[in-house]
Amino acid sequence: MNELTSIIIPCYNAADYIQKTIKSVLNQSYKKLEIIIIDDGSTDNSLKIISEIDDTILCISQKNSGVSTARNNGLLKAKGEYVLFLDADDIISENFIEKRVSFLENNRDYDACCSSIHTINEKDKLINDVFFNISKKEELLNFEEEKYSCPSGYIFRTSSLIKNKLTFNKKLSSSADQYFLYEFFNNNKIGVVQNSPLKYRVLSSSMSNYLTQKLVEDQVIFLSLLTQNNLIPKKYIKAVTSRMNYTIGASYFHLNMNIRAVKYLIISFLISPKLFLKLKFR
């Protein structure tokens, strides 16, 4: 296996964890790598830490534009046959790249590969049992609880991304990952390998942990993009849209934005009363 893999790491104020992230890349059993860090306008000493680890790492700075723009800009610079979008606080196990690349080399009809996920906290301690990356569209559409969309878990065939003009949608923030997968599944296949986990860091301060209006509005845009671009198969439209409207409505309730909450809950009910009642009484 001799193909180059590009590791794109969007970095925004990641001083606390980026050292461990980079070290986990440098510790890989698979050595043919290039690391591209896109610094999204960090105001801490992330850049200093990066240069102290290895001053040959390509580090590109940009004005603060969000994680999607950072990933897309990294993809433009990537020379590898394979690409990994690694979050600046996640850690990859030492055979992470080797197992995925080996799979893709031996299965040319697959466009990406993933495995299991261990969620860890600030102190690198496990906080949950094993999860798995989403590898089938049905898992996305059925909102399977033990399946995650985090992009750090996947290695993609670069040509599949380019051929299908796949990038991360700049209009989205926390749901950009999921949206990316919806688009990816249109024409592409994801394979699974065993036991080469991603250690996915869940911080108490992370975006998706705090329910904010911005987060909910992101969900609204996400749903709107899915329906506008016909990314939900007909068979699943009712279930997915009813559920998402329900989630948006419930979130607005949490934020005490009751008028909006009622609006989305009514929409959810009208789309599928059966599902609405199931969700309500779960």
Binding site: E94, S115, S116, L126, N128, D129, N195
Partner: protein, 615 residues
């Protein structure tokens, strides 16, 4: 088998190295050695228990032929002769000794870190590279040999036992890990890489680490049990019996190589009987066998061991114990284990090791059989609770069992009352061990602490059935952090080396992929292992329920050991320690003395914890 220590630190000197190494004298009474270089701030220490090549030429720390590397090593490499052949072919190497020590170091010198994949054995290895100024440490695949480390303030130190590290850094530098205390209440042992101290960790099994300038710079897993689970199972019964017998025979044969007297532990159960029978088959003389029995007839299995020994014509040694003999071991436990340890079968294990050491230096033991071949009753619980109907009705069923009232049903009620599917395996384990459930711990602790998480879902190549999954959980946790700890510390306390043929990695990797329906067949646990055994010994010798290797602790804590409850679980002591709520403990003691005997192990682990904190 030995003890190893060392550090990379400018703070500590040779005298510190000597002191920390001397703490392991029990592991290696035959010789001690040191390497210290103040410029490079490296110290390596070794205590030797001579097993192969009894000459001093094989003493450690050992230096490589090229002088670049120095090594301290605890363990045995059973295929060292095969590795030697490879070394001779590739590098014209000529050994100076007939020990495996030299071969291990030269293998590293030639092949680097990947050498570890060639080793078949049990080991904890530390190799210092003078050129790169770094220390490489390796711990064997299953975790048979221990290896702890301390890392703080540009000091990296390691040792076979915690006591050396405590000696080096002093107790003032160490803080109690309260999360581990929560784990101890649930599992009875410290889990994963944790110890009772925040600053001291275990190196995981199947792992190598590199340390330089006082800290870890790299960590790699060279063997993970998950990677050994294959998609396809071996299901052909006659084929499995033959292949399993061959692999066990190879494993036993490899472990019978020693320049000192050797024997086996023979409890009368399936595993030890198979190991003994295989060893006897391979030996042209009667094998020395050792078993202990109790005057309390309910606990005594020694008569079965005796019959088996007579059938195999071994040189059998038996020790029948009274309660006082076992009780006298209790005080020793605290010196043996360095941290609270809830497994009271360490008492008879200490005794059998003490007895065996009078005649032999190496013993073969049957550990691992229950985990590999579905031997424990709790695996049936795992199967029952996988039934969705039983699972969903668990709360009303549990309430009903409690009402029925006797100990057996009350205990069953606690097993069934599992909090969630996600923590089912750890719950089943804790209840089988009569320890605290997570719900009980929430109520018991003064400061809430959920403990560390153990993974209970396994990312493997095929779906494991509920019994297999529970056994896999045990292989990853209970075996490594309880049973093998018990065997290592108890045997090394008496300078006895114990070898575990069923945990030869070839046997483990094969057993993992045997069809579980051959392991548990027609209501019979360890079915396939028994078929192998019945080629050596008649079935009628084993027609009885399985008994563990235990002591009547539930009785003793009410009588001869009651003083432990009075001393360590008093109001003053509990409140001073501030870990658990006295009113809960008081209620437990009251219920125990009123007849809820199954609470004994909860009290036992509380005693262990509070005794440790007092010391």
């Amino acid at each position: 088998m030995c003890g190893i220590t060392g550090f990379i630190s400018s703070k500590y000197k040779k005298e510190d190295l000597i002191k920390m190494t001397t703490m392991l004298k029990h592991r290696g009474p035959d010789a001690g050695g040191y390497y210290y270089n103040s410029d490079l701030t490296i110290g390596l220490g070794h205590r030797r228990l001579s097993i192969l090549d009894l000459n001093s030429g094989a003493n450690q720390p050992f230096q490589s032929k090229c002088s670049r590397y120095r090594m301290v090593f605890n363990g045995e490499i059973y295929n060292f002769k095969k590795i030697l052949n490879q070394l001779q072919l590739e590098s014209n190497f000529i050994p100076k000794t007939s020990s495996d020590t030299e071969i291990v170091l030269e293998a590293f010198a030639l092949w680097g870190d990947s050498f570890v994949n060639k080793l078949n054995g049990m080991f904890a290895i530390a190799i210092w590279d003078n050129q790169l100024e770094r220390l490489s440490l390796f711990r064997d695949r299953v975790g048979i040999k221990p290896l702890y480390y301390y890392q703080k303030n540009n000091c990296f130190a390691f040792s076979s036992e915690i006591k050396s590290l405590v000696q080096l850094v002093s107790k003032n530098e160490l803080t109690i890990d309260k999360t581990t205390v929560s784990d101890l209440l649930h599992y009875g042992y410290s889990i994963e890489d944790n110890s009772i101290y925040n600053e001291i960790k275990k190196i995981e099994n199947g792992t190598s680490i590199i340390a330089s300038k006082g800290k870890i710079i790299e960590r790699n897993h060279f063997w993970k049990i998950e990677n050994k689970v294959r998609k396809e199972l071996v299901s052909n019964e006659p084929k499995v019996i033959k292949e399993l017998d061959n692999k066990i025979t190879d494993a036993v044969a490899n472990r019978m190589i020693a320049d000192v007297p050797l024997g086996t532990f023979l409890s009368g159960g399936i595993d030890s009987s198979l190991i003994t029978a295989t060893a006897q088959k391979l030996s042209d003389r009667p094998i020395n066998t050792f078993s202990i029995g109790f005057k309390d007839q309910q606990q005594d299995e020694s008569k079965y061991a005796k019959k088996i020994a007579k059938t195999l014509n071994t040189n059998h040694n038996e020790l029948i114990l009274g309660e006082q003999d076992a009780i006298e071991q209790v005080d020793k436990l605290f010196d043996v284990f360095d941290e609270p340890f809830g497994d009271s079968s360490s008492i008879p294990t200490l005794l059998v090791c003490e007895m065996a050491k009078k005649q032999i230096t190496v013993a073969l033991s049957g550990d691992g059989g229950d985990e590999l071949f579905l031997g424990y009753g709790m695996y049936k619980w795992a199967e029952r609770l996988s039934n969705p109907l039983l699972y969903h009705l668990r709360k009303p069923i549990s309430k009903s069992l409690n009402v029925i009232g006797n100990n057996k049903y009350k205990r069953g009620a606690m097993v069934i009352n599992t909090p969630s599917k996600k923590h089912l395996k750890s719950h089943i384990f804790s209840q089988e061990q009569y320890l605290f459930s997570k719900q009980e711990i929430d109520n018991l602790l003064v400061e809430k602490n959920r403990g560390n998480l153990i993974l209970e879902t396994f990312d493997v190549n095929r779906k494991l059935n509920p019994m297999e999954a529970q056994a896999f959980f045990d292989l990853k946790n209970y075996l490594k952090d309880d049973l093998l700890v018990k065997v290592d510390r108890s045997s090394m306390f008496h300078s006895l080396e114990v070898r575990v043929p069923l945990l030869d990695h070839n046997v483990v990797e094969y057993a993992l992929n045997i069809d579980p329906h051959l392991k548990y067949k027609n209501g019979e646990a360890k079915y396939i292992l028994k078929q192998v055994l019945y080629d050596y010994l008649p079935k009628k010798l084993f027609d009885r329920p399985k008994k563990g290797f235990s002591v009547p602790l539930s009785k003793w804590l009410k009588t001869d050991l009651k003083y432990l409850i009075d001393n360590y679980l008093s109001k003053t002591n509990i409140e001073q320690a501030g870990i658990v709520r006295f009113e809960i403990v008081e209620n437990l003691i009251y219920r125990y003395f009123k007849g809820d005997d199954f609470l004994y192990n909860r009290l036992w682990i509380l005693i262990q914890i509070h005794r440790f904190l007092e010391k």
